[in-house]
């Protein structure tokens, strides 16, 4: 079966079998290696993507089910200003994520900030529990996401004033 969908802003099609998970399709058919499929139970967060704007573990999505939908992976998100806000916010708060959790934490933060421009500490910790990793101090993560929220608000405010 050929599935057609929007991947990182482009219309794409791929051959998919009903045995394929979306995470594997993204890695093997599109060479998007930022999506990993480790736990295959939605727990580790390494395969997080945005599916129609919602954060989901792509290991729990069968490839056939992406038909007609919009997928953003870390590779696509890295081309946006929002990505730069998050990376700079993390850096300014002294958060140094590891290779295991950097992409999922960025994707989880992006999805949260889209839904809640000023998230509370509890909302941040709840959201980032999708990308569990002991490398980062939770309080620093809260500061980082709140810093990102501030810088994004300033950027949007400047843009509105132009």
């Amino acid at each position: 079966m050929t599935v057609s969908f929007i991947l990182n802003g482009e219309d794409v099609s791929a051959k998919a079998r009903s045995v394929d998970r979306l995470a594997d399709l993204l890695r093997h058919s599109f060479n998007l290696l930022g999506v990993r499929s480790d736990c295959r139970s939605g727990r580790c967060g390494r395969c997080l993507i945005l599916l129609d704007g919602r954060l989901v573990p792509s290991c729990l999505v069968p490839a056939f089910n992406v038909r007609g939908k919009e997928v953003v992976t870390i590779e696509g998100f890295a081309q946006t200003e929002d990505y730069r806000d998050i990376v700079e916010g993390f850096k300014s708060a002294g958060v140094e994520t590891c290779g295991f959790c950097e992409a999922p934490k960025i994707m989880a933060s992006a999805a949260l900030l889209d839904r809640k421009p000023r998230p509370t500490a509890r909302e941040i910790l709840e959201q980032l529990s999708c990308a569990p990793c002991r490398c980062t101090d939770p309080e620093a993560l809260v500061r980082a996401v709140q810093a990102v929220a501030e810088s994004r608000a300033r950027r949007l405010y400047r843009r509105a004033g132009q």
């Binding site: 139970s41 939605g42 997080l48 954060l55 056939f64 038909r67």
Partner: protein
């Protein structure tokens, strides 16, 4: 299996027609419960799949004066977005216990209720709230109380055939509630279970009380609940202790660890009625 066996009906009528023609077809919405059980890279799915998650009729949720009505393909995250006031704090807390926020973006309320292997997180809360489910086939619709999804020995008995389309939750005032998930939280294990309790008082009298506990087995005794209704509040320590003993007997069918936790949770719930 070829992916051409995956059906994407455009509306509910077409889905029901497919279901009539292919009675053994796998009904697929969020798919989290189906996929997470398969740790292998390649999925092993039945030869035919009916995808219902994008059916507009199943993706709506709304409040009327008497009940909250939820389409079966509404995701847990979408439900939580309705807020506690619409959901009731009991149901909201049960839904927050499901997976993590990314999984809740995929998992649907219908999938959570329709599991054949075990009772999932929403069942005890919906049982306490007297929730109803609608099963549709081409012959029409049938409404069933979620308490009737319990079969022999307390095991799940979700009806075969038909499509779970809507869930209705009556809107009632509750003065006390408690919800506790025990055992491994992220994904259900044999010792994962959820305890739910609600109670309402009228002029110092216990007007209604409901207690449900479920994991691989479901426990609810309307006889014990009825024995509590009409008593003056607060319950005396002797009354509470006597009722708790009866509930412990009820819980003796559970594995030992769960039976102990069930007893402690009943004690805590009755404690709310004793002060």
């Amino acid at each position: 299996m070829l992916a051409s066996d995956v059906h994407f009906p455009k509306d509910l009528a077409e889905a029901l027609d497919i279901l009539r023609r292919r009675p053994g077809i796998l009904i697929f919405a969020g798919g989290t419960d189906i996929l997470r059980e398969q740790g292998s890279r390649g999925l092993s799915l039945p030869p035919e799949i009916l995808c219902i998650q994008d059916l507009p009729e199943l993706g709506r949720a709304g409040l009327s004066e008497r009940f909250l009505e939820i389409g079966s393909a509404v995701t847990i995250a979408e439900l939580l977005d309705l807020g506690e006031a619409a959901l009731t704090p009991l149901l909201a807390e049960a839904l927050r216990g499901i997976g993590n926020s990314a999984i809740r973006n995929l998992a649907t309320i219908g999938g959570n209720l329709a599991s054949r292997q075990r009772f999932m997180d929403s069942w005890p809360a919906l049982a306490c709230l007297d929730g109803l489910i609608e099963l549709r086939d081409q012959g029409g619709s049938t409404w069933i109380n979620v308490n009737r999804l319990v079969g022999e020995g307390g095991r799940p008995a979700f009806p075969e055939g038909g499509l779970l389309t809507r869930i209705r939750v009556p809107i009632e005032r509750w003065d006390a509630y408690a919800l506790r998930k025990v055992g491994p939280r992220f994904y259900p294990a044999p010792d994962t279970a959820v305890f739910a309790f609600v109670a309402r008082a009228e002029k110092g009298i216990l007007a209604d009380v409901r207690i449900a506990f479920a994991g691989e087995l479901a426990l609810r005794s309307q006889a014990l609940e009825t024995s509590l209704i009409g008593r003056s509040l607060p319950l005396s320590p002797r009354e509470a202790s006597s009722v708790a003993d009866n509930y412990r007997s009820l819980g003796s069918s559970l594995p030992e660890g769960l039976a102990l936790q069930f007893g402690a949770l009943v004690d805590a719930a009755l404690g709310l009625l004793s002060r």
